[in-house]
Assembly symmetry: C2
Homo-oligomer: 221 residues x 2
C-alpha cells in the first residue's frame, strides 16, 4: 500500500509544517514528504494543484486530503488512537490550548517568525508581544506543574499540544526568551526530542532564505 | 444538576460567541448564558476571572473550562455524538474547512467585521479580501453540490462547519456579498435557521456600539 504523503514548506521557516510533521512522527505513521519551498515563483500554484486551500501542510492518504494542522491531528487521533490525553477533561484542556495557539498569538507570530537555524536575535518588544509571551509561559508552567509525574510533555505524554507549541519553542530559542524553571526545561524537552532532530538538521542545510522571516538584530552580549 | 454555562460577548458583534452558541443549540444542550459586553472598561478583567485566555466564548461545565470554539465543538462531539459528519472522510474534510476558518480568512475578518443588525454597507475591496470571498464561495458551492441530497447544510446535516461559517453569512449579508445559486441559498439556510432567530433578535436589541466594528459606507442604490 502506498504510504501517506505530507506536503510541507521550508523546514527552517514553516511552523505549520513542523507541527503536522511532528504529529505524524509521534503517532508513528510512516509517510513520505513532499517539500515545496515557499515564497518563490510558482510555489502557490504548485500548492493549489494539490490542495484547494493553497496552504501547507497537506496530508494525503489515497483520495483523502486533510489540509489543516488541527484537522490532521484529529484525523490521527481517530485512526491511531494517539496524540490526545486519555482523560476527557485533560483532552478538552489540551484542545483548548492547542486551538488557542491555532487561532491566536498573532503579535508573537508576526514579531518572531520561526527561523530555526537563527540564534542570538533580538526583536523590538511591544505590550502585545510581551502579553503573548507571558500567556505562553503560564500555559507551559501550569501544565508542567500539574503533569510532571506523568512525563516530560505538557500533558505528561506527548500530545498535539506539544506539536502546536513546538514552533514557539524555536522562536523562544532564536529570539532569546527564557525563564528559569519549567519554561527552560520545556524548551530543552522539545528541542532535544529525538524525533525532531532530522527536521532540525534539514533546517540547517536548507539554502533558501525567506527575507520576511529574517528579522531581529544580532544580540551582542 | 446545574446547567452548563456559556460565556459570550455582544451578540451583534462577537462572531466566536455565535459559533459556540450555535453548536450548543444544534447539539441540543440546555445551557445558561453569561453575556459580557466587550471593549468596555473592566470587560477583559471579568473575562480573565473566568478563563485564563481572557477571550470569549468559554464553556463551563462543573469544574471543566473549555475556552476555544473548536475545542468546545470537539467536546460536544465527544459528549453528544453530534456535530461532525458520521463518515470519517467527510469528517476530516469538515474539520479541514472548519480549521481553515478558525485560523484563516484574516483579510475578510478585518475588513468585514460581523455586525449582524447592519445591512446595506459597502467596504473598500482588496485583492486579499476578494480572494477570501472567492475561496469561501468555492467551499460552500462544492459542499452544497456534493451533499445536496443529504440536507440543506454544508455536509447535509448540520455540523460544526456550519457554525464556523455562520458569522461569514452575516458578513456577506451586511456588506452585500452574494452569488446566485448555491451561495445565496446557503445565506438563506443559515439566516433562516429557526435555532438562530433568538440570537438575531437579541442582536437587534443590544444597545452597545463597538466603533471598530462599525465599518463601511451606506450602500446608496
Amino acid at each position: 500500500m502506498q504510504k501517506p504523503l505530507l506536503v510541507i514548506g521550508n523546514k527552517n521557516y514553516s511552523s505549520w509544517s513542523l507541527r503536522a510533521w511532528l504529529m505524524l512522527k509521534h503517532a508513528k505513521v510512516e509517510f513520505d514528504e513532499l517539500r515545496i519551498p515557499l515564497f518563490v515563483p510558482g510555489a502557490k500554484q504548485k500548492l493549489l494543484e494539490i490542495s484547494p486551500a493553497g496552504m501547507v501542510p497537506v496530508y494525503c492518504e489515497g483520495e483523502l486530503l486533510v489540509w489543516d494542522t488541527l484537522a490532521i491531528g484529529e484525523y490521527l487521533y481517530e485512526t491511531h488512537h494517539a496524540l490526545w490525553p486519555a482523560d476527557r477533561a485533560a483532552r478538552a484542556r489540551a484542545r483548548s490550548v492547542s486551538a488557542e495557539m491555532h487561532s491566536g498569538f498573532v503579535p508573537l507570530r508576526k514579531a518572531m517568525p520561526m527561523n530555526i537555524r537563527a540564534l542570538g536575535r533580538k526583536v523590538t518588544s511591544s505590550a502585545e508581544l510581551e502579553a503573548n509571551i507571558a500567556r505562553i509561559k503560564t500555559i507551559w508552567s501550569e501544565l508542567r506543574k500539574q503533569y510532571a509525574a506523568a512525563g516530560p510533555w505538557l500533558f505528561g505524554q506527548y500530545s498535539i499540544a506539544d506539536a502546536m507549541f513546538a514552533p514557539v519553542v524555536f522562536r523562544f530559542l532564536t529570539y532569546g526568551v527564557s525563564e528559569h524553571g519549567a519554561v527552560d526545561d520545556y524548551l530543552l524537552t522539545v528541542s532535544r526530542d529525538p524525533l525532531i532532530q532530522p527536521w532540525l538538521d534539514a533546517s540547517a542545510l536548507e539554502q533558501e532564505v525567506i527575507a520576511a522571516s529574517e528579522v531581529g538584530r544580532e544580540n551582542k552580549q
